[in-house]
Symmetry: C2
Subunit: 132 residues, 2 copies
C-alpha cells in the first residue's frame, strides 16, 4: 500500500468549502427532501412529473423542475424521457438515491412521530416568554 492510498476524512460538511455541503443542501432542502421522500415511498419507485407534483403538496413547476435537475446531476435520481406524444417522463431513484432517501425517510418519520412533543415544547416556550 502506498501512503497515497490513505483516504483521510476527505469530505467534511462542517467545512465551508466542502462540496458535500452543497449535496447535503440539495438533499435536505425544502423541496429536495420531499421529492426524495415521495420517490422513496413507492414500491416500484417511478413517477411522472405531475404525479410527483401532486404528491409534494405546494411545490411549483419551476421548483420541482429545478430540484429534479439538481438531484439528477448529483446522481440520486434517474430521468427517463419517452419521445411520444404527449411526452412521458418518468423519474426514479438510483441505487445511490435510494440509500440517501432511506436515511432521509428515517429522519422524516421520526420527526413526524414526535410532533406531539415538539408542539408541546413550543407551547411551553411561548408561554414562558409571555406574548413575545
Amino acid at each position: 500500500m502506498d501512503v497515497m492510498d490513505s483516504p483521510g476524512p476527505a469530505y467534511d460538511v462542517f467545512s465551508k468549502a466542502c462540496p458535500s455541503r452543497g449535496t447535503l443542501e440539495h438533499v435536505t432542502g425544502r423541496w429536495g427532501a420531499l421529492t426524495l421522500g415521495a420517490l422513496a415511498a413507492l414500491p416500484e419507485g417511478s413517477l411522472r412529473f405531475n404525479e410527483l407534483r401532486r404528491r409534494v403538496d405546494g411545490v411549483s413547476e419551476k421548483m420541482l423542475s429545478q430540484t429534479l435537475h439538481a438531484l439528477e446531476r448529483d446522481g440520486l435520481v434517474h430521468r427517463e424521457a419517452q419521445p411520444t406524444n404527449p411526452p412521458r417522463v418518468d423519474y426514479e431513484l438510483t441505487p445511490l438515491g435510494r440509500g440517501v432517501a432511506e436515511r432521509l425517510l428515517a429522519l422524516i418519520r421520526f420527526v413526524e412521530g414526535r410532533m406531539d412533543d415538539v408542539v408541546g415544547a413550543r407551547e411551553r416556550y411561548d408561554a414562558t416568554r409571555g406574548g413575545r
Copy 2:
C-alpha cells in the same frame, strides 16, 4: 377505547399545512442540520456559543442565534445560561434532539461517504450537456 382515541396518520410532511414540515425545515435547514450535527458529534454534548460558531464553519452570529432559538423552541436543544461575568451559555441536545440528530448524522455520514460517486455523476452530467 373511544373512537376519538384513534390517532390516524396525524402528521404528514407531504401536506402543505402540516406543522411537521416547519420542524423538518428547522432540522434540515442549512444551519439547523450543521448545528445539530455539531452538538451530536460530542461525547458530552455541551458547547458554548462561540465554540459552536467555530465548528459550524461559515455561520454568522445572527444565523446561529436564530437557528438555536428555533431548535430550542422545538424542544431539540437545551439552553443553560449562567449569570456570571463574563456570561457563559451552554447548549446541548435534549433526548428528543439526540434522536433527531442521530438520524441526521446517519444521513450526513452516508452522503459524505458517497461523495466520490456524486462528484463522478456531476462530471458525467455536465459532460453530456457540453458546456452548460
